[in-house]
Point group: C2
Chain length 136, copies 2
DNA sequence: TTATATTTGCAACAAGGTTGCAAATATAGT
DNA sequence: ACTATATTTGCAACCTTGTTGCAAATATAA
């Protein structure tokens, strides 16, 4: 709880109920959540707009990040502390069984060669497979 | 043009105007297109629904594939012939300058180690940077 | 305690995508 | 050629995700 307050202060964000609840929800969730999943989990029923605006603020300040899945689905998750400022190699894992999305962002990986004239700046890798819970 | 007819036949899809036009558009386009970009380029004005249904058919048969970008934007592109049946390593390039999306699907790459219990099945890598046109 | 800035809710909207149903086309079967 | 059947198309309606404008509420500063 104190880490949430600290995180807000570090980013010059006032301690509003919606912000606190969203951060609490995201940090308690084991995996990345969609906006509607987040809103369902909030204690108080904030308006959709308010939640979206709060998420956008968090995204801008890199407090959270978004993961885009196949078919345009978007999930939101806390940005791991070590990732600030955000590195260039991002890894996420999508479980084909339970649809859970996990940040594996601290794992570096080798990047492929590209055709002549293409210069890479950063890399987003989405690994599909079975997560630890679904394999147990 | 004959390759398009052949592609349809190979997938047991009848040669309907909408199918032919969409495949023509996608194979002429240098980069992946969104549904609205596709529809704008079609000679005849097909209904949105028809285009979506056609795209869905093509996706199911792996004639085309979709690429999900940051923020939930989805683009569609021909599946390169060599990729059928689709492999496990997919690479796409997003140009930060012109927003073009290119398939680099024939490039293999090394995949990262994963936490215990996570078993990978396939990999989608989106490389961000500057494309060959924007660097020229 | 007034003045100002921030946050919230509401209504409305836009884009992407889907579904149901009926009209139009094509494909067979005889 | 002529029904009978299946496929494709268009239209209207709808859902979800996300945004914008504006006014009310709340917090912050002077």
């Amino acid at each position: 709880m104190n880490d949430i307050y600290a995180l807000l202060e570090k980013n010059n964000l006032s301690r509003t109920p919606c912000r606190v609840e969203i951060l609490k929800t995201l940090s308690q969730a084991g995996s990345a959540l969609s906006e509607s999943e987040i809103r369902d989990k909030l204690e108080y029923n904030f308006d959709r707009t308010t939640v979206y605006r709060t998420l956008r603020n968090f995204l801008n300040q890199n407090v959270i990040h978004s993961i885009s899945l196949e078919g345009g689905e978007v999930r939101y998750a806390m940005t791991p502390a070590k990732d600030k400022p955000h590195g260039t190699h991002h890894v996420h894992f999508y479980c084909n069984n339970c649809s859970g999305v996990y940040c594996i962002s601290h794992k570096p990986f080798d990047t492929p060669g590209l055709p002549v004239g293409f210069y890479p700046e950063n890399f987003d890798l989405l690994v599909h497979g079975k997560c630890n819970k679904c394999n147990a």
